[in-house]
Amino acid sequence: MFQSILEGVKTVFTPQALLLIAFGVAWGTIGGMIPGINATIAMALLLPFTYSMNHTVAVMMLAGVYCGGEYGGSIPAVLIGTPGTNAAACTVIDGYPLMKKGKPGLGLYTSLIASCFGGLFGALVLLFTAVPLAKVALAFGPAEYFALAFLGLSMVCSLGEKNVFKGILAGFIGILMSTIGFDSFTGAKRYTLGLRDLNNGISMVALMMGLYAITEMFEQAQVIHTGSDLQLTDEKPDMSFPKWKEIKRLIPQLFGCSAMGTVIGVMPGAGATAASFLAYTSVKQIYAKEGGFGEGNTRGIAAPESANNAVTGGAMVPLLALGIPGSNSTAIMLAAFSIHNVHCGPLLFQNSPEIPYGIFIALFVANFFMFFVGFLCIKAAMRIVLIPKPVMISIVIALVFTGTYAYSGEIFSLYVALACGLIGVIMRKFEIPSAAIVLGFVLGSIMEANLRRALIISLGSYWKAFTNSALSSILLIISIASIVMALVNNIRKGKSLI
């Protein structure tokens, strides 16, 4: 193995490879910062340029874009309450309140540190455990995927701050929204209201843009007229780097969330968005006594950011070891390999170890580059704080519509974003957590598809589908226990409030 790692190091540490990785990270970070342009789109835009490159260097550059893209989304999430990528949606919950409190530096640098940590952790784990981890991915069948998604959904209980029932309700609505459109099993149209544009379902970008960005901008516009205490602070924003004491308290959770992100990344189809929400809700439950979540707790920024960047490492496992692209971004990498006639799979590690290990080392290097690129981007982006509120509101709404259109290429998605924005406004009035809708939407489709697959395997028996494997049974028991505990705690808290 060490011989293979050395081969990888030799491949990466050439001027051309290092330059292209750095360029990839910068391109990805800028792409991630623009709402509607995620890591996948940023990678797809560079794909034509890889034709003339060496295949390993081409994929290294794309890996750099992947890392940068996952991180870049957190910058607008903290600064303007608009997630640049889906995976950064969770960062808005605690990042934007920090910005409102006049501490954008703390939010932005925490997200940068956490992202780099998560990325480095994922790359390091991969370097030594890629092949065994690939076997873990294969051990997950439909029942286990369903149980994992259910475990994630059980976390919605912790998102309903004051009223647990509102959190669960929002989660249910999110799952229901994920069922809109053609049923992938039978082709039946579900909840399309007779609109052809809804046949393919609701775009996740439109949902996120609406629920987070449009809702927040509408809220800020109301604040300008009512002058309530919700508005952004008028004091000079604190743009300093967090103190060591602040970083030190995050270290244990950074390890945990990065490990979670790496494992979720290994599983095809789970993705960075699911990882960041699962990490956030887990940290929120673990540090519940500390409080302050949703009000600018840096733990709420570090958790999703470390997890979604750790996913980049994990996602390479099924791609390189099994030839299965687990996400859209890794599918682009597979396309880059195909262009150069390189076949991913177990034999790649035996016949051409410099390719997989080169990519692992490149991920490692990319995360170092990301720190410096991120630092520069933060310095430039912080100027946004100084923009007057009416200007920011108008530009952000225009940016949101442009980004939403850029992603889907359909005018209809703009109506969806606006409708989701208005739903978000109503939800805020009734104190319903919008994060629960997003979590339901992200995990809902994974849950439904795998439940139905498990039922097909068990010939329609729900009991057999859930209990056939020890792993799925354990995950389901943990989920149910978590729901019951959250309900009991919330009812007790509710009684004490009365």
């Binding site: 792409g31 623009i34 342009i37 789109i41 835009l45 004051k162 009223n163 029932f165 509102k166 669960i168 309700l169 249910f172 609505i173 799952i175 229901l176 069922t179 049923d183 099993f185 039978t186 039946a188 579900r190 909840y191 516009a221 109301q222 300008i224 007229h225 009512t226 009416p390 200007v391 509101i393 108008s394 530009i395 709404i397 225009a398 519509f401 442009t402 980004g403 259109y405 850029a406 290429g409 005018i411 703009l414 109506y415 606006l418 208005l422 009035k429 009734f430 849950m447 439904e448 139905r452 039922l455 097909i456 010939l459 329609g460 919330n490 009812i491 808290k493 509710g494 409030l497 009365i498």
Partner: protein, 161 residues
């Protein structure tokens, strides 16, 4: 835990759950090999929404304490209404007159709704904002933005990286 307004919110969810459940019953079962069918999860969720809606409604009904501030004020409603109207008009005219004409109008409308009154500033921000977004998405990221009747003109004169 509950607010008085939850009684109406809960009833709304009961209604929503009922409609979703009824819709799910109308989808046919296509294949015997798919035991759950397309309606299984939506039906379970609909029942869940109805039950949770009832809990909210009952909880809100027993809440005697009045809310400290109203759910929404007239000023807030007016701002939300005006912003929504501006956005709807923008989405309607976007494919007709194109991005380069529709977006400055949207930005200008939002600036006015948010209280800006300096005409020179409004015009400058609308034009510069639109141009920056256009160059970023159309020229740099090669996104085919809706250009309306200006498509031919822009396609021949606007460079794309």
């Amino acid at each position: 835990m509950f607010d008085r307004t939850d009684r109406y919110l809960g009833l709304g969810f009961v209604l929503l759950g009922g409609i979703c459940f009824y819709s799910a019953t109308t989808w046919p079962m296509y294949f015997a090999s798919d035991p759950a069918g397309p309606g299984a999860i939506p039906k379970i969720l609909s029942v869940g929404i109805i039950l949770l809606g009832l809990i909210l409604s009952v909880g809100g009904f027993f809440q005697k304490k009045k809310a400290e501030k109203p759910l929404v004020t007239v000023v807030e409603l007016r701002v939300i209404g005006l912003l929504s109207a501006a956005c709807i008009v923008y989405i309607l005219i976007l494919p007709l007159i194109g991005y380069l004409l529709a977006t400055p109008l949207l930005i200008a409308a939002i600036l006015v709704i948010c209280g800006s009154r300096n005409v020179k500033q409004i015009v400058l921000i609308s034009l510069i904002g639109t141009l920056v977004l256009f160059l970023l998405f159309y020229s740099l990221l090669r996104v085919n933005l809706p250009l309306g009747f200006m498509r031919k003109f822009i396609n021949s004169f606007m460079p794309r990286l």
